[in-house]
């Protein structure tokens, strides 16, 4: 604080000296001694005012006052710890929930990539690629030939970066002696320089690294922290990626975790034109790796727009180049085939339905959590109003003693600011915790930790809350006026009917919001219940699944030998009932789709349209292990792999589609003989519609090293078998970790992780709303009963029975709730409509959900009314009248 060099006493001394000198002078002019002293004083004017001004000189007056107000506020908070605790907790939950949901929204939807000038960065999308190409994602992946054509100097882009997935899941790496899994991407040489991602240590990639398939590697800051404890010695060390040694040359800037908003990449390697680094770990197609295969559209492309060029302009300028490059290696287009169209999208995600998946539901959640905050704030306002009404005597006294209303307002604002500050601090801690839980529920791997934007958001919420909470109860506070201080009766101080009307309106509003939240929560919970109870068409009990990418396997024969031997060894482990392998992990969103030939002709539906068929390569015992019923024929055996007679198994929908009312056994699919028909079951996700499928024997296929192993294990905890499995695998390949081992049930549930997240959050918000509304209602009713003690005493004295009094209070509560419900139901219907896209198997106007919500409100009304009603009914009329 400001240091005063001169004391106030010294200043007072000087004034005294002045008065004496002045009196001396006046005496010298012939004024009498008495008169001189009087006139000196009068000429000076207000001595007190001068001293006060001296005292305040250079001080931060407002700070002085603030300190005083804060002290006073803290004192009055200590005086009513119950109120303080309730208020702070309410705020912490209300604001914390908002902060948490906003953090998720910020991380997933709002935050731009942590790169230089992110507004210039755009992801490339295409219309469906030409016939005859294979893609990873039909609208977001391009061939290396297209990449090469588009990255030539063209004036539209200053840089074009490419990302190739090494696997559909994590890959196996070895840093020390034990193999482990990591999330890695293969990127073009200009990836870091083009994005403008700095290195905290070492260097990024260069075009030469890409051209030479250099065995170098850049790790993310997060991976460096998590895996290496930020050891600078990691630079120059070796990491075995898929068994191949790579040297760590750089650590990327903190915060950069790759180019997918919901994923976190551990490290990057330059594009590799060699095995085993073909995109997705695929075997070469006709001897060609992805760089030489123009029909394998497998690269995701990220462009940096040239200065002053818009996305539309860039797309227009690149269109002819793209359309030309897209035909490389394909020859002339088929008649009626549309030319491909290039477009640029936000640098957020390559997944097309990203906005559907996250955008809308998150906005709905944000709205719901906003309602929770509204309920929390109105609750607090009512609490404060009740409290201030009780403090009216204090305020009146202060007004009577000369305090200005502005000073009272300042003090109320300080008190609310204190509450909000305390609540806000707790909210921040709560949110930090909640985001971690949210990330796990939503399977979002990127960091959701609150950042500056979130802090700003929270601060804004806090300021608004503090203002609302300070101003709203102000009217109650000064409502009594100064004259109230003179009145003596406690009851006479509480006569303003308008105030209690406002209180009632607020309770009804809260009830309405609560109905909305309950209906929302109910609809989402039923959705989740429905999703979880979709029959998968298999028995997932005891099914354990894990990926494996053995590096000791170099050809088809070795592959089959490896997995046959592995299954034999796994089968010997205690508790293992059966094992099988598959190329594509089921329940992971991935699928391999194409059209097929049936009996040598192109497979077409009755109306002539092409039918897309889904494929997977599997081992023997696949359907037996999954317990999918075999309807006709048989499944693959080891003998099929050894024989050269190519065979296939199809599902019922395939049979019904291509062979209606005929026996499909013995017919040919792509030249493979159908030997069995199995029942339809879920393949890619839980809520998919059935699609015609056929399975190939992996032992007859081209042979991909990367397989997923499925095993059925007895016992309550099937995952307990994993350590023994790891040992078995380690004996066979030192570089192959178990990739994402989990229960098959969990694997399928990853496909409804958003729905799980939203349902759980909505349930939480609904619960929070109920608790808040219940406490609010309880508080209001208790307060009213207290105020009406005398009145109730009189009623009872003149003959009201206890039952009547009880009902009088409960009726109050029920009427308020009924009004709230009537207001809330239409709002809830609107909410249901808005949620419709996120619902599964439940109508937005589902009567059961609405009925349960209304009953829930009624229960809340009765439960929170019970205690005050009983208290009212137990009032002793004599005692009540005596208090007057």
């Amino acid at each position: 604080m400001f240091r005063r060099r001169r004391s106030e006493e010294d200043f007072a001394d000087e004034i005294r000296a002045h008065l004496e000198l002045e009196a001396d002078d006046l005496r010298g002019e012939g004024v009498s001694s008495e008169e001189a002293r009087y006139r000196a004083r009068r000429n000076f004017g207000n001595v007190r005012a001068a001293q006060e001004a001296f005292h305040l000189r250079g001080r931060w007056v407002w700070l002085d006052r603030l300190v005083r107000d804060v002290r006073f506020g803290l004192r009055s908070m200590r005086q009513s710890p119950g109120f303080t605790l309730t208020a702070v907790l309410t705020l912490a939950l209300g604001i914390g929930a908002n902060t948490a949901v906003f953090s998720v929204m910020n991380a997933v939807l709002l935050r731009s990539l942590p790169v230089a000038d992110p507004e210039q960065v755009a992801y490339l999308h295409t219309s469906n690629p030409p016939n005859g190409t294979g893609t990873i994602d039909s609208n977001d992946t391009f061939s290396y030939a297209v990449y090469q054509a588009l990255r030539q100097r063209n004036g539209a882009l200053s840089d074009l970066m490419a990302v190739g997935l090494l696997s559909t899941s994590k890959i196996g790496v070895r840093i020390g002696t034990l193999p482990e899994q990591a999330e890695a991407d293969m990127v073009s040489g200009n990836f870091f320089s083009g994005l403008g991602v700095r290195m905290v240590r070492g260097r990024g990639f260069t075009p030469e690294d890409e051209a030479g398939s250099a065995p170098v590697l850049v790790i993310s800051y997060d991976y460096w922290t998590r895996r290496f404890d930020r050891d600078p010695g990691v630079l120059g060390s070796t990491i075995f990626v898929k068994g191949v040694p790579f040297t760590v040359i750089g650590i990327a800037a903190s915060g950069f975790e790759g180019v997918e908003a919901t994923h976190s990449t551990d490290f990057w390697i330059p594009l590799q034109n060699r095995l085993p680094f073909n995109v997705l770990g695929n075997p070469p197609e006709n001897g060609k790796l992805f760089e030489n295969n123009p029909t394998w559209w497998c690269l995701r492309l990220i462009g940096r727009l040239a200065p002053g060029v818009s996305r539309t302009q860039a797309a227009a300028r690149l269109q002819p180049i793209y359309q030309h490059a897209a035909r490389i290696g394909l020859g002339d287009p088929m008649p009626g085939e549309h030319p491909v169209v290039l477009s640029f999208g936000d640098a957020k995600s390559f997944t097309g339905d990203y906005q559907d998946m996250y955008g809308k539901p998150l906005r709905m959640l944000m709205a719901m959590v906003g309602l929770v905050l509204l309920i929390a704030l109105t609750n607090l306002i009512m609490l404060l109003m009740a409290r201030n009404a009780a403090r009216q005597r204090e305020f009146s006294l202060r007004l009577a003693l000369g305090a200005r209303p502005a000073e009272l307002l300042r003090q109320l604002l300080t008190e609310s600011a204190l509450l909000v500050l305390l609540g806000g601090a707790m909210a921040w801690a709560f949110a930090a915790l909640a985001t971690r839980v949210l990330a796990r529920w939503a399977l979002i791997e990127s960091s959701l930790a609150p950042d500056h934007t979130v802090l700003l958001f929270t601060c804004a919420v806090l300021v608004v809350s503090a203002l609302l909470l300070g101003i709203a109860p102000f009217r109650t506070a000064i409502g009594g006026g100064a004259e109230l201080a003179l009145k003596t009766s406690a009851a006479s101080a509480q006569i303003d009917a308008g105030k209690s009307r406002l209180g009632k309106a607020i309770v009804a509003l809260q009830m309405a919001l609560c109905v909305v939240l309950l209906v929302g929560a109910g609809l989402l919970t039923r959705t989740l219940y429905n999703l979880r109870n979709i029959p998968l068409g298999m028995n997932t009990n005891g099914l354990v699944v894990f990926g494996l990418n053995p590096q000791t396997v170099h050809n088809q024969a070795e592959l089959v030998r490896f997995y046959e031997e592995l299954q034999r060894r796994l089968g010997r482990l205690p508790g293992v009932e059966s094992t099988t392998v598959m190329s594509e992990r089921i329940g992971s969103w991935w699928s391999d789709n194409s059209d097929v030939t049936v009996d040598g002709r192109e497979g077409r539906a009755a109306d002539g349209s092409t039918i897309v068929v889904r494929h997977n390569d599997i081992g023997p015992n696949f359907f037996h292990t999954l317990q999918v019923p075999i309807l006709l024929g048989r499944e693959f055996t080891e003998a099929d792999g050894a024989s050269k007679h190519p065979v296939t198994v199809v599902n019922q929908l395939f049979a019904d589609t291509f062979f209606p009312h005929r026996n499909p056994l013995g017919h040919l699919v792509n030249g493979f003989t159908i030997i069995g028909v199995v029942a339809n079951h879920k393949y890619r996700s839980m809520d998919e519609a059935p699609i015609p499928m056929c399975w190939w024997d992996y032992a007859q296929g081209p042979g991909e090293g990367e397989m997923t192993v499925e095993m059925r294990v007895r016992g309550d905890d099937p995952l307990a078998i994993l350590p023994s499995v790891e040992k078995v695998v380690a004996q066979m390949d030192a570089n192959a970790p178990l990739i994402e081992p989990m229960l098959l049930r969990e694997q399928y549930e990853t496909t409804i992780s958003q729905q799980i997240l939203f349902a759980r959050l909505a349930e939480f918000f609904g619960l929070l709303a109920i608790v808040l509304v219940a406490t609010g209602l309880y508080g209001t009713l208790s307060y009213r009963v207290n105020r009406r003690t005398a009145e109730i005493g009189v009623r009872m004295a003149v003959g009201a029975r206890r039952g009547q009094v009880l009902w009088m209070v409960l009726r109050d509560s029920l009427v308020l709730s009924a009004v709230g419900v009537v207001l809330g139901l239409p709002l809830a219907a609107v909410t249901g409509r808005a949620l419709a896209a996120s619902l599964y198997g439940v109508h937005p106007l589902d009567p059961l959900t609405y009925a349960v919500s209304v009953v829930g409100i009624a229960v809340v009304a009765l439960a929170s009314g019970a205690a005050p009603a009983l208290r009212a009914a137990s009032i002793d009329p004599l005692a009540a009248l005596r208090t007057e």
């Binding site: 000087e14 000198l21 001068a50």
Partner: protein, 127 residues
Amino acid sequence: MPTQTRKSESADERIALLQGTLDLLILRTLLLGPHHGQGVARSIQRQSEEVLFVDHGSLYLALQRLEDRKWIRARWGVSENNRRARFYELTEKGRAQLAAKTSEWNRLTEAMGRILNGTTGARNEEV
């Protein structure tokens, strides 16, 4: 009471000091040598032939302000008539300020004069 009559008459003719002018007057007064606060007040009143009225409270606050800015310094001493008093004197910084403020003031009054008397002056030139 004759004194009271004189006072009320002169009060009408007195001019309340403009913001900032008090500082200038104090500095100017102190240019003549160290003074205590009461002496400064008397001196200003006398030199302005009782036209300017100095509020004593404001004067002492102004003195303190100037002291805080290190334009003047103060120490306790003894007056001619043997009273303990706080004496103020100009610092080098204060002298510089006085010069600057004086010229600023002169320019201001000149400009004000030109505007306020401008209409008559213009007419005279035309004639």
